[in-house]
């Protein structure tokens, strides 16, 4: 019986992974009260295509995290529609798993308890089947020896891998990564990017990856969506046609360099806009004067 459940899960993983898509249709979202409304996203339409790794980059504070919260269902749009496989997103559910900034492992649960948390809540995977699936994922993320450790006892990279496993066990239709490797040192970050890429290339589960690092975007992405300054709109969509499987050496190829130049130009322009309109206005002015 338990084995049946496991097989069933594997089947659905194999058949569904990489076939789901997300569509933003004219989505707007603002924060604040009616006297002081700050639009974060205005009339945004963007697609996360099936089986692709879509990376969203944009200047800091442009509303990237809001997009994540909207897809995940943590927040509701003021207007417009968000569709997951043609059905309206109404709230959080296991078909959209978020890997959060820094680490959002639950501190009072061990690595193992964190990983089995979702299935245990729902009771859809139990007993030996659950144990086997958890062990498989622990091996996959290289944390078998650390399954009884608490998150605080893990290194930054290990925490991220545990969180990946915790998301994957729920077999989501789409993985949403909100600057997941932020806060890691450069070495761990590089290793995590490669590890994550292998994981993605294994079954090409539809993935939305948010970052503010252009190198990370190019290394991982099938498509890069460059956002404008707040309120966020799509400035440019760049196809990244670097062959897979990828390794970090490709970042120094002429193609990658070309993409980087293109993206950097847009990002710099948008960043300067937000700089001038925001808290950096004084500095931008002085900076401009010094240039003259």
């Amino acid at each position: 019986m338990a084995q049946d459940t496991l097989n069933h899960v594997k089947e659905t993983t194999a058949s569904k992974a990489g076939q789901s898509k997300v569509e933003f249709r004219h989505v707007s979202k603002a924060y604040g009260d009616e006297w002081d409304l700050e639009p974060v996203i205005e009339n945004l339409s963007v697609d996360v295509l099936p089986g692709e790794l879509t990376v969203i980059v944009g200047p800091s504070g442009c509303g990237k995290s809001t997009i994540v919260n909207l897809i995940a269902g943590f927040e509701k749009p003021d207007s417009g529609k968000i569709l997951l496989d043609d059905s309206l997103v109404t709230g959080p559910a296991r078909d959209r798993m978020v890997v959060f900034q820094e680490s959002a492992l639950i501190p009072w649960q061990t690595t193992y308890q964190n990983i089995v948390f979702g299935p245990k809540l729902r009771g859809d995977l139990k007993g030996n089947a659950l144990r086997a699936e958890a062990e498989r994922l622990l091996v996959k993320v290289g944390l078998s020896e650390f399954k009884n450790k608490y998150p605080l006892q893990l290194s930054g990279g290990m925490q991220r891998r545990a969180e990946l496993a915790r998301a994957l066990i729920n077999n989501p239709r789409i993985m949403i990564m909100d600057e997941p490797f932020r806060g890691l040192d450069a070495m761990s970050r590089g290793l995590m990017q490669e590890f994550f890429l292998r994981l993605f290339e294994e079954n090409r589960r539809t993935n939305l990856f948010v970052t503010s690092e252009i190198d990370e975007a190019i290394f991982l992405a099938d498509r890069i969506v460059v956002l404008s300054n707040r309120p966020a709109q799509v400035r440019e969509v760049i196809e990244v046609n670097l062959p897979r499987p990828r390794d970090y050496k490709m970042l120094s190829s002429p193609e990658a360099y070309e993409i980087k130049r293109e993206a950097m130009a847009i990002l710099h322009e948008e960043a300067m806009k937000s700089f001038k309109s925001g808290a950096g206005a004084d500095f931008a002015e002085t900076y401009g004067k010094a240039g003259n």
């Binding site: 559910a93 996959k140 006892q153």
Partner: protein
Amino acid sequence: MTDIAQPSHTGAPAMPKKRSHLQNLAANKSLWRGITAIAVFLVIWEIGARWDEWFGKEWMIPGIGLIPPPSDVFEAWLKVLPKPGYWNSWYQSLTRVLSGFLSAMIIGIPFGLALAVNKYFRDIFFPPFEILRPIPPLAWVPASLIFWPTNEMSIAFVTFLGAFFTIVINVVGGARTIDVRYLRAAQSMGASQWDLFSKIILPGTLPSIFTGAAVGMGITWEVVLAAEMISGGGTQGGGGLGFFIWNSYMGGSLEQIVVGMISIGIAGYLCSSAIRMLGDWFMPWRRLF
């Protein structure tokens, strides 16, 4: 792929070699430092207090010279140790502290959690709570002596108040600062409202509950002692360590006053140690090794 997956740096230091409990204790440097510090403190106190005996009255060190030396205190202690009255004082103060403290926990934790998670409850109960909170527990003493039929009940009530406000405010603060990402992650995975409360909010509030308990326990001791002194123990056999000190003061026994003070110090230390141990036991995830 596996080579990438291998941890590049582990968060787990090597386990120390197994040693017996006594060996561990003997090798515990913090423990030895603590013992040395107390010993040095006692020696300085002894010298300071006996200075005038050795060098004449005109050399008496102000303050410390008036206090009985620890050796005399120890002697006085040995005298009261076999007396049931002394232990009865311990028993009475401890019972009052524990009853006040436990009732504050039992009422305060659910009350604080309700304030934290329910907006309506908070809108209604937080304003009166915030007005009553700044009133020092001791300001309640006269009113509660009048209000409650027995001395014992008024002491218990004031003790309860001392811990209650601290515990509630800590629980509210703890529950409201739980990382929203834990709640969101759980929601995505299909958690019900009850799951969110029992698996995220409650364990997430535990550290603050224990902080509140530790602080609350300290306040409870302060309040009990003061209440015992004010109410005078009195007719119903009152007593308690507060009354023990007051009585010694009335009887002019300086040594016995200090005995009472140190007894309270020890009692308070035992209580906070118990809370710390419970905290470690309840929250294994906070241990970093």
